[in-house]
Structure formats: C-alpha cells, structure tokens
Amino acid sequence: MDRLIARTVRQNVPLSVHFDLTYRCNERCVHCYLDHEDHGELLTSECLEILEQLASSGALFLTLSGGEIFLRKDLEEILACARRLHFDVSLKTNALLLTHARAEKLARLGVRRVQVSVYSSDPAVHDAVTKVPGSLARTLAAIPFLLEQGINVKLACPLMKENLLAYRGVMALAEGLGVAYVLDMTITPMMDGSQGPILHRVGAEALLPVLQDAALQGCHPPAKKEEDLPALLGSATSSGMESDAYDDLPCSAGHNSCYISPYGDVYACVQLPIPAGNLRRRRFDEIWRGSSALKQVRAMRESELPVCSRCDIRKYCERCPGLAWMEGGDLLGAYERACELAEQKARLAGVARPQSAWHAQCAANETKNSSAKGRVYDSMEMTNEGTRHD
C-alpha cells in the first residue's frame, strides 16, 4: 500500500474520494458540523456522471456518506453504478434505516465496508447525542444484518463532553460484535466556519484518561513505534490511507484524496472546506488538475511550516491543515487545540514541561508586550517628572 500511495501522491492520482451524497439526516447529533437543510443536492444523473469522471481519473476507494445516505432514494442506483465502475466502496451510516433486505442489496452491490456511528453502549447517552429516542437500539439491531452478509463493519465513536466516559462501553460493544472501532477526539467547527460544535469538545486535560488508557495500548494493528499513540484513537473522517509514504506532506488531502459535497463542491478534505471548484460547472479532472486552491494545499510541506516546523514536540502533534485553517485562520499556522493535545501527549511520554513552539512564541510576545508597557510607563513617568513645574 505504501508503494501505491507514494506513486499516486507523486502523480496526484485521486486514489481515495469521500463523496457525501446528502447533508439531510434522520438524527441531529449535537457535535455535527453539517447544515442538514437540502440546498439543492446533486441529481441522480449528476452523481452517476461524477462517478464516471472519478473512475476515469483513477479513483479506486470510494466512501459514500452524509448526512444519512439511506435518505437518498437513489442510493441503490448510485451503488450499482459504482459497482459497474469497479470502485471499492465503503459507506458511513447511522444504520437507522438499514434492514436485512437493504444489507443483502449492499452485499450484492459489492459494498465492502460500512462504518456505523455509535456514541455509547448506554442508550440514554447515545440517544442524547443523536436527539432520537431509541436510536441506539435501532443502530445496534442493524449491525448483524451487515455481518451476516460478510460486510466489514467498523464502529466510529467521536468523543465529546456528552459521551467521554462511555468510550469503554463502545469498545466492549465492538469487541462483543467482533468488529473494529475508532475513537475520534476530533470535533470540528461547522463547514461554514461557525463554532457551535466546538462547545461539545472535550478539553485536552479531560482527555487524559483516554490517552492514558492501557486498554487502548497493544491494539490491532500494533503501533509501529513505542511513542505512537494508541492506533485505535484515530479519525472517523480519515481517508484511511495513513502511510509513511506521505513523508514531508501533512496528509493525503489534495494529493491522492479529496472530498465532494452533495452540491458538487470539491475540497481537498471534508475538514478543509476551501472550495476547489464545482462539478456542476467543471469536470472533475479540470478541477483536480487546475484548481489554485488544491495547488495551494499541495504546496504545503511540514518542514516549511513557519512555526510548527521548529516545534520540539512536533512528533506528538496531529496537526491538521484544515483545522489550522478553520480554527487558527491560517493553513500553515498552529492552532490551540493541536498545541494543547501535543503538550498532553508529550507529558504522558515523559517530556518535562513540554511547550509547543507556538505557545512559546505567544509567551515570548506577551513578555515583550509587558516589557514594552513598562517602558512606556517609565518614560511617561519621566515625562511627567520632566514636565512637573515646581
């Protein structure tokens, strides 16, 4: 896989595409970053045409998601097209609308993997997140339908204030079902930039019990290096193509993976919503090759980040350029959340008094400003003294 990733990065082949078919949803999760109103979703014909263009461009791994994808009445038709075009298809769903018959169809249409959102094994906690009474029971009831069809299932559990203590229950659920799971600490702003979901984010210090949890160590697959974070803490929105082959690049976004919205907007990543172009106006290949936004993303190098490249605790940081842009306002900059988490992880790894380069810079600037204030005050005093007339 590393060789494939290296090759597709070098040639900018869009190997992995995350395509949200709708932002409509039958849940109203408190942490969700999407606007659930339909502002004019792509038509069936448009979706099918996009799939043709993606296949021609070399896309192989296709993740279809939402909102809730089963709200698309044309989902089967879209999956049939994906099958005909030989995509490797994964779905993300809350599974509320998944029946035995639908699971059979998914298997027949070649869906290889389904990621299901579960926030807790406690119905009260899960349903409080989704705002749908009975949602956990319905979600869990649907999972065996997928397993019976031989479809790989993965539980995705974003961690937030509402469910932080419940993650062990989700792990137990997954282990009981014999399925994989990912715990995701990332709660992002809305795609339009508004910060509402951030209210539900767990502070870095409160995440310590999770980061320290021995049950998340020694996981499968095992972490490559001792200082690696537990591999079961990851990203529920990841392209799934983590690899050393990215070398000096921050991630796959814009290099060999991208995101498409239900309105045909192309972005480097769902977490990096700088529009690169719209598929209702231009072909995918034109956007992928010619977009200045994507070229800007592709130009980023970890070693050239103005502040982060000189950070002593960089190896503990999971900086995301998208979050740097959404939260810090600067694609190349640092942002508070990343620094907080890196410092926590460095502390856990035994680093004495870890401080990110950005925090150090902020502290130095504060000291400089305080000193400058003092000097102004002194000079004012001197001036006052000088102007005092006895």
């Binding site: 896989m1 494939l4 597709t8 040639q11 082949v13 070399g58 896309a59 192989l60 030989h86 031989g150």
Partner: protein, 97 residues
C-alpha cells in the same frame, strides 16, 4: 490449478479494481486484500472479457510485447493460474480449467 489454453476466463465480478498508469490494483472484497499487477499482468487483465480463451490472451500478449507465442502462452497460463488461485478470475463457463 491447470489453466487449459482453451479455457475461457472472466474477472471475478465481486472485485474492485483500477488501472493506474501501467499497473492494476485489485481489491478482494471478502479478504480485503490488495493485489497489484505489473504492466504485462495489467495488459492481460484488461483483455480478460469472458469470451477470450487463454490462447487468445497469449496471442494478444505476443503481438504487443514482442515475445514468442510459446513464451506468451506459458506466461499467460501461469498468470491465469495465479489469478484463479487468488479468486481474481473465475471460469466463464462454470467449468474448472
């Protein structure tokens, strides 16, 4: 598994695959295993259509890659045997070859 020259093969319809440059990436859905074919393997893969026999595929390979028909047939039958053992191709007529 012995791939007879007159056996007809088709790609396993359950597979995901994509040609990227001169190589082909194939994903087995049940095992979630990735297979890679080099340029000659990709050439043969593209030509497998449920109608061509192993001998037909070998003839095409010989035409396009400047190898003798004997070498092409040996390479093609070996490749088909390997693909079949990995369930990436299946007999088009339902018979074992």
């Amino acid at each position: 598994m012995n791939s007879a020259p007159n056996g007809v093969w088709q790609k396993n319809p359950a597979l995901a695959w994509r040609e990227i440059d001169d190589e082909t990436i194939i994903i087995s859905p049940t095992e979630s295993v990735m297979h890679e074919l080099n340029d000659t393997g990709s050439f043969v893969w593209k030509k497998i259509d449920g109608r061509r026999t192993a001998a037909d595929l070998a003839a095409l390979l010989a035409e396009n890659y400047e190898v003798t028909r004997e070498v092409a047939l040996a390479d093609t039958t070996a490749l088909l045997a390997e693909l079949a053992s990995r369930k990436l191709v299946v007999a088009a007529d339902g018979e074992a070859h």
